[in-house]
């Protein structure tokens, strides 16, 4: 099946992206640990510890995509696509904890402003780390959209939060120098709000996917139109379009004339499946029940 091969290639691409992202994050955290130890900066070491959370998120998304690639088995007749949604949900939970931690720290800092030492090493590493995170965020968002992977897209937000964090480190040095102490904790509150927002948005999407949410109404309508546009199809009902990880499963009752021979009806069902799968690349499986069209007076 060429359609399924095309999907595999897409997933494979996602796996490559998450593997590269993990590798970059590992290098980044090692760099932070080395510079932190050499310069004796506790801030950098703490930052390295935070990067380990990033690595965990990246690895989980990589695992989810790898699992999704597995062929259906007896135990998993629908394949493993939902592993991707579960992994995205885990990353969202990790992000909520990260956000809570940042929020707690920044609230403390409103009362006890931190004393920031003006150290060029820390600022250089923060700037470098910010740039790397920015490119990772762009990279993951682009490929996440391409293969409609929730996991990669939430990971992209995760990296973007790191960019904001790095900017915060640089900004706080500047503001502390000016003697304005409330800007840094305020910015941290805003960053944690961003993290919560991203985690909740994507967490909701992942949970909805696990609950067999319908695809977008526009897409559902388009699939319905495609089915109705097939010759000999008199009607369609009980159309169910559900998301499973990056893919879509379609079920529909298609109505034909009662006098149609079964062989013909089957050919119609095949035609419907072909048309839907041809037009919507993300559709993984289509199950058509052909029934009799009852005339309504």
């Amino acid at each position: 099946m060429s359609a399924s091969d095309a999907k595999r290639i897409l997933l494979q691409k996602g796996i490559t992206v998450s593997r590269r992202s993990t590798f970059v994050l590992v290098v980044l955290s090692i760099a932070k640990v080395i510079v932190g130890l050499l310069s004796g900066s506790i801030a950098l070491l703490a930052d390295a510890a935070h990067t380990i959370m990033d690595i965990a998120g990246s690895v989980i998304v990589w695992l989810g995509l790898r699992l999704s690639l597995r062929k259906p088995t007896d135990l998993f007749p629908y394949g493993f696509y939902k592993a991707e949604s579960i992994c995205a949900l885990i990353v969202c939970i990790i992000m909520i904890f990260t956000g809570a931690e940042i929020l707690r720290d920044s609230l403390e800092r409103f009362y006890v402003p931190s004393v920031i030492s003006f150290r060029p090493v820390v600022i250089a590493v923060a700037i470098g780390s910010g740039f790397v995170s920015y490119f990772l965020a762009r990279y993951k968002e682009r490929s996440g959209r391409e293969i409609s992977s929730q996991g990669l897209r939430i990971e992209s937000r995760h990296s973007f939060a790191d960019v904001l964090n790095s900017a915060l480190v640089c900004g706080s040095v500047f503001f502390t120098y000016l003697g304005i102490s409330w800007v840094e904790p305020l910015a941290a509150v805003i960053i944690s709000a961003f993290i919560f927002w991203a985690a909740l948005t994507f967490g909701k999407d992942s949970i909805f996917s696990l609950m067999d949410v319908s695809a977008q109404p526009a897409m559902r309508k388009a699939i319905e139109d495609t089915i109705l546009g097939t010759p000999e199809v008199k009607g369609v009902h009980a159309l169910k379009v559900r998301r499973s990880g990056p893919f879509i499963f379609v079920e529909a009752h298609v109505e034909v004339d009662g006098r149609t021979s079964l062989e013909k009806a089957h050919a119609i069902a095949d035609e419907v499946e072909d048309r839907v799968q041809e037009k919507f690349k993300e559709v993984d499986s289509t199950t058509i029940h052909v029934g009799i069209h009852e005339k309504h007076s």
Partner: protein, 417 residues
């Protein structure tokens, strides 16, 4: 089970979880009050632990309430999965509390604390153990009745609480017996048990969320039901997945390729009815009927003589002395066999006798000029396809017409025999 019954079942589960929430909250309240009055830190710590019990009961209650919602445009499969998500929350909380107990017990092994013989603590622990045990029995029963994994998980959670309360007693006993480290060891065991329980439940929840097929026996049951229906040639691609307490299933059914759509539809309705009758928890059921990939057809034609493919065709059915049975293979190969129609010699019900003979020989198709009502039904019940012979007199022409699908289908005549 109809939708109303399902919603009632979920409602029953929701009420049980609600009752459990109230009872757990009351129990926590007692612990807080007794803890404050007696100044026992152990009781206050236990009250904090009870918060997790309230939390999971609440999660299951809300989850089962939400799952009662009717399917919507946005959620065409309904909300039953919310129950599974609640189950996952229970699993995570249980595993986390196991880790907590484990860590606390390790500390106690390293530095055994002096256990105060406080009657208040003991009384509360006894009440707590008793209530938890009753809750365990209650939730376990309702959980089994409603087939709810979340409630069953909650029941196990309560059972762990019974163990924890019993541990308080045991700790005091062994303390006086002179083994201060025994409490810590028992705690470690309970902690490990709880972690294992939580992980096991988490695995079950994740498997359901991944659309795994957890009950392979349902597949063989569905296969058996479908193949017992007349006219079904085979079944394949049976997929079963769970959503909350219910089952979603799909199946491909093979029937004779010459069948008409309305006949195929009747078969599929019959299968659906039987499956819903015998597997009550089925919610969404998707049957895909398709022509069987049979590569051979056995065609019967009544003939006057025993001269193989050159025999003269008979325009009778029951009165015909012989039937020629031709095996027509997809690849064009033909083989034949002539059978004698013993029924032709009897006075009455000749047609029925002939029909039974053909069914016995596993005939797929009968081409004849006429057939009576009784024989017609005997043949149709065994999914024999009937075609009109018309004025055709040569077997070769009949076979060609069949291959080209030019034969008209035949129904029974009022007076034929």
């Amino acid at each position: 089970m109809c939708t109303e019954e399902k919603i009632q079942l979920l409602g029953k589960g929701a009420r049980a979880a609600k009752a459990s929430t109230y009872v757990t909250t009351a129990l926590t309240g007692i612990k807080v009050v007794a803890g404050l009055l007696s100044g026992s830190i152990a009781l206050l710590a236990d009250a904090v632990h009870s918060l997790s019990d309230i939390f999971t009961s609440l999660a299951v209650w809300l989850g089962m309430k939400l799952s009662q919602r009717k399917p919507s445009e946005r959620f065409p499969y309904g909300f039953y999965r919310v129950e599974t998500l609640a189950f996952m929350i229970v699993a995570i909380v249980v595993a986390a509390s196991g880790v907590q107990v484990l860590l606390a017990s390790f500390n106690r092994i390293v530095s055994p604390s002096a256990v105060a013989f406080a009657p208040v603590t003991l009384t509360v622990a006894a009440i707590s153990a008793l209530v938890s045990y009753l809750l365990y029995r209650f939730k376990s029963r309702v959980g089994n009745e409603t087939n709810s994994q979340a409630l069953q998980g909650e029941a196990k959670h309560s059972l762990i609480d019974v163990l924890s309360s019993a541990l308080v007693f045991a700790a005091i006993l062994v303390h006086y017996a002179g083994f201060p480290w025994a409490e810590g060891i028992a705690g470690v065991l309970i902690g490990l048990l709880t972690i294992r329980l939580g992980l096991g439940m988490g695995k079950d929840a994740v498997l359901v969320l991944l659309d795994a097929c957890l009950r392979p026996e349902l597949i063989s049951q569905m296969r058996k039901i479908a193949t017992e229906v007349n006219g079904v040639r085979g079944v394949h691609e049976i997929k079963v997945r769970r959503s909350g307490p219910f089952i979603f299933a799909e199946m491909h059914i093979e029937v004779d390729r010459a069948m008409r759509m309305d006949e195929a539809d009747a078969i599929s309705s019959a299968i659906e009815e039987r499956i819903r009758e015998s597997i009550e928890e089925v919610d969404s059921l998707m049957l895909h009927v398709e022509p069987s990939k049979k590569d051979m057809y056995r065609i019967a034609i009544p003939v006057e003589e025993e001269k193989g493919l050159d025999s003269r065709v008979s325009y009778h059915f029951g009165k015909s002395p012989y039937f020629i049975l031709i095996d027509l293979h997809e690849n064009g190969l033909r083989s034949w066999l002539v059978v004698e129609n013993h029924g032709a010699r009897i006075e009455r019900k000749r047609g029925m006798e002939a029909a039974r003979l053909l069914v016995q020989h596993k005939v797929d198709v009968l081409v004849t000029k006429e057939v009576g009502e009784g024989p017609y039904h005997v043949l149709r019940d065994s999914s024999v396809q009937l075609f009109d012979l018309g004025e055709e007199s040569e077997i070769g022409h009949v076979l060609d017409a069949f291959s080209r699908k030019e034969l008209r289908s035949l129904t029974y005549a009022k007076e034929a025999g």
